[in-house]
């Protein structure tokens, strides 16, 4: 407990590095201030808006997909090829262009410097480039909707040979633009990612040890490291597939007889791509999950007015999950025809990962124990996250247990699993985080009433979409089917259930529009937040101004004396003690912020 116990502060060592960024670069013109801006906070907002914008497209695609599934043959404009293009784009947009970009580019950029007491990222210029390359990747992605043949319909997993053969929609231009867009995304992300990692490792303020960082930062940091090491596999896969498609090399292509015609490929290995893809893909799902883990810990702690339970275990769990997730990838390939021997290895590693994850879940709930829980919006989203994540994680255990995956793989059970654990749980955290940090970014609160509506509809709605979907998976209903048609084994009632899920999807979708409205109007009309409205301890709320200005803090950087979870300290004057409150003031200080960081004073 020595590390976390804050009343007894160890010495803050003398500065090794004097405020290394005090001579900040200052923008000279409107263009460099708002458009090509190098301030991480502006870049963060650019990232977030772009990601939410493209996410909205992903959402609309999901409605169209659901319409087809719920009411087959009603919407004649949806052809099979379109359907496959929609699911592909939906999956890819949601996982990569929305969640990865939002958590790392958006939240990462905003929160890392602020929470660590840095003035900016270490390489602001590269950081800015990162956003513009990301934007370019998004534009290329959108462009693929307009090329002849449309976007690719190979599924977001892009498995060759089909991805580049003519039997799959979008195999002319669509797949190439997809691969180009992914490569651009990776290049752009790498520029940003190096910034996040180096900032965390090398640019913390005095007293901010790694073991005092808020879990948000731990989550984002580990996810970024993950991304830097996992994206290379996708990058290499994308390059090789581009070559296979354009130059007819045979990396992934064996001899193929397509529609009676023998193609010129020979000797390649389709499974190689799957390994590369999942060597990236599995870490990728944790890239999406780990920031959510971190952020939700902070949301729960702040709004339960209690420290996170078992902070050190939480940190180690993140790190262990991170490390293990590089050796579980082939659990997506149990029935891919790979070497059967792998099943034993990967099932074991996969289920081992459940142990640190389970500990995180326990610690979240134990954070609530003997707390003083305020049911604010971020808290509600946090609670809902735990439920949906446990539900989705547990179904992961079914799939991870190799023999069980045999009947369940590629059924709707898998779709239900990953929507529960990825499409809902982290999305709920995103919403909670937006309700939590919006006041910091804009100085105003989001509307509470609209927020409650948004919460209940989204949480309950999406839960009842995906819970029953598991059972369709048990029946044996396949995923990625344009329509089921006649079968001997699927009961009539399954179609009614599908229609029900579609209707709920549309209702949930409507709630998102309400959220969007709230997001836009509250910028002008929201209640003034004032400094540190949630009475939080972490540094981002201790800035001189709300919203923080360029350079984040006042003349001097804050000095950190304790961990970020000093809530309910017995001998403190109030129920929270900011990280930078000098020890001698703990017993007396009352107020939302620590006095002398108030900038100009």
């Amino acid at each position: 407990m020595a590390i976390v116990d804050s009343p007894v502060v160890q010495d803050i060592p003398a500065a090794e590095v004097p405020d290394p960024n005090e001579d900040l670069y200052h923008a000279k013109s409107w263009v460099t201030k708002y458009l090509f801006c190098q301030d991480a906070k502006v870049i963060a907002i650019q990232y977030s808006c772009t990601a939410l914008g493209i996410g909205l497209l992903g959402l609309v695609l999901s409605w169209v997909m659901r319409l087809q599934l719920g009411f087959p043959e009603v919407f004649s404009f949806i052809e099979p090829a379109h359907y496959y293009q929609f699911i592909t784009m939906h999956g890819m947009i949601m996982v990569i262009y929305l969640l990865t970009a939002l958590f790392l580019g958006g939240f990462g950029n905003y929160l890392i410097p602020l929470m660590l007491g840095a003035r900016d990222m270490v390489f602001p210029y590269v950081n800015m480039l990162s956003y513009w390359v990301y934007l370019l990747a998004v534009l290329v992605l959108i462009a693929s909707f307009f090329v002849p043949g449309g976007p690719t319909g190979a599924g977001w997993t892009l498995y060759p040979p089909q991805a580049i053969l003519s039997g799959t929609p979008g195999s002319d231009g669509g797949i190439i633009l997809m691969l180009v867009s992914l490569s651009l995304f990776i290049v752009g992300f790498t520029m940003g990612g190096l910034n996040y990692v180096v900032t965390v490792l090398q640019a913390r303020t005095r007293g901010m040890t790694l073991m005092r960082m808020p879990l948000t930062i731990w989550g984002i940091f580990t996810a970024t490291v993950h991304a830097l090491l996992a994206f290379p596999a996708l990058f290499v896969g994308a390059i090789m597939m581009t070559l296979d498609r354009l130059l007819e090399t045979s990396f992934f292509m064996p001899v193929i007889s397509e529609m009676g015609e023998i193609l010129s490929y020979e000797g390649g290995s389709p499974l190689l791509f799957q390994h590369l893809f999942w060597f990236f893909g599995h870490p990728e799902v944790y890239i999406v999950a780990l920031p959510a883990f971190g952020i939700v810990s902070d949301l729960l702690s702040v709004h339960a007015r209690r420290h996170v339970f078992g902070y050190r275990m939480m940190v180690w769990a993140i790190v262990i999950i991170g490390a293990l997730s590089f050796i579980v990838w082939a659990h997506h390939m149990y029935v891919s025809g790979m070497n059967p021997w792998f099943g034993f290895f990967f099932a074991t590693t996969t289920l081992i990962i459940a142990v640190p994850t389970a500990l995180k879940v326990y610690n979240w709930t134990l954070t609530l124990w003997r707390a003083n829980i305020r049911l604010t919006l971020p808290m509600l989203f946090g609670l809902a996250f735990i439920i949906t994540f446990v539900n989705g994680g547990i179904t992961g255990l079914f799939l991870g247990n190799v023999a069980i995956d045999v009947p369940l793989s590629d059924t709707l059970f898998v779709v239900a699993h990953f929507h529960m654990v990825m499409g809902i749980a982290p999305i709920l955290v995103v919403f909670g985080a937006i309700y939590h940090w919006y006041p910091l970014m804009t100085g105003r609160m989001l509307d509470e009433g609209l927020g409650k509506f948004h919460f209940w509809v989204t949480f309950l709605g999406s839960y009842i979409i995906y819970l029953p979907m598991h059972y369709l998976g048990f029946i044996g209903v396949p995923r990625r089917y344009f329509e089921m048609g006649e079968t001997t084994f699927i009961p009539e009632s399954a179609q009614d259930l599908n229609a029900f899920m579609t209707i709920v999807t549309l209702i949930v979708g409507f709630a998102q529009l309400v959220f969007l409205y709230n997001l836009i109007t509250s910028r002008k009309n929201g209640v003034e937040a004032g400094p540190n409205p949630w009475k939080a301890t972490s540094l981002e709320w201790q800035t001189a101004k709300t919203p923080p200005e360029h350079g984040n803090f006042g003349k001097t950087l804050p000095v950190v004396y304790r961990w970020a979870y000093a809530y309910g300290l017995p001998n403190a004057a109030q129920d929270f003690v900011p990280q930078n409150l000098p020890p001698e003031l703990v017993a007396t200080h009352v107020g939302n912020q620590v006095p002398d960081t108030d900038g100009e004073s």
Partner: protein, 284 residues
């Protein structure tokens, strides 16, 4: 208050739904019942934890809701509790994993002497090939595929001459006879799955994959392609008829062999009709 009830409701609702929902396994028709059992085990282990976590949360939200002036307990960690929880979880994992691995071992280990046949996938239809009297399938090559030789069999391989070719999506298998299914694709990835059999495996062009099972129930079942293979993926269906050995043999005899199809193409051509003197006992 409402929130606590809502959480409670979600937890209880989930359990109730599990027991009353009309949607559940399609009745099994193969020897893989053990996989279903492992699922039931997993349901119990994870279900208990799910309910425990949700109930605990509901209780906390109800009991420790905000009161002005109240302070939360300050007690950052408890080694003892965390060790206990890790151990219990690990035990839970072991209870699920052990039977799972055992079942997988069964699944990938084909018993000696199991009869083989081949399923051939292509966009977007199924074909099947049985070994003839010799019990051996001839070698193939995708390069040899043409209209006259849709399976791409090697005409020079004596084992292939008596192979029985079924250019139709309907497959028949005899009851209670274990079979090893060799899966081959000529173009893209496909996946052979019959929900009642519980066994599926991808078909990979440029390789041959396999699975095995023993049919234990007579009936006609759907064969579906379970790996996205292009626009026609959803329409790539077949049917599997499991029947008594007599009925099967009758069907089987009516099919033609590779040699016969070759002969049909070039009647005057010399075709060596090699039939292994002693038919292997693992033939159909």
């Amino acid at each position: 208050m409402i929130v606590a009830y809502a959480i409670l409701l979600v937890g209880i609702g989930t359990v109730v739904f599990h027991f009353v929902s009309p949607w559940w396994w399609t009745p099994i028709a193969s020897n893989w019942g053990f996989i279903d059992d492992v699922i039931i085990i997993t349901f119990w282990v994870t279900g208990v934890v799910f309910v425990a976590v949700v109930l605990f949360m509901a209780y906390c939200v109800y009991r420790f809701r905000y009161k002005e002036g109240q302070r939360a307990e300050y007690n950052p960690e408890s080694k003892k509790l965390e060790i206990w929880l890790s151990v219990l979880t690990s035990v839970g994992v072991a209870i699920m994993l052990a039977p799972g691995l055992w079942a997988w071992d069964e699944f990938v280990t084909v018993p000696e002497g199991t009869a083989e046949f081949e399923v051939l996938g292509q966009q977007w239809s199924w074909m099947y090939r049985f070994p003839g009297k010799d019990g051996k399938l001839g070698k193939s090559s995708t390069k040899l595929i043409d209209d006259d030789n849709p399976f791409g069999l090697d005409p020079k391989d004596p084992n292939g001459q008596d192979d029985v070719l079924i250019e139709d999506s309907e497959l028949h298998l005899p009851l209670n006879k274990p079979v090893k299914v060799l899966l081959r694709s000529v173009d893209v990835l496909h996946d052979f799955y019959v929900p009642e059999l519980r066994a599926k495996m991808d078909m990979v062009p440029g390789a041959v994959t396999y699975l095995w099972f023993e049919p234990i129930r007579v009936g006609t079942f759907d064969i579906l392609c379970f790996e996205l293979c292009g626009t026609g993926h959803y329409d790539m269906r077949g049917s599997l008829v499991i029947e008594e050995a007599d009925a099967f043999n009758e069907w089987f005899e009516a099919q033609s062999t590779f040699a016969e199809t070759l002969a049909r193409i070039s009647p005057e051509g010399e075709i060596e009709h090699k039939i292994a003197a002693n038919a292997a006992e693992n033939s159909f």
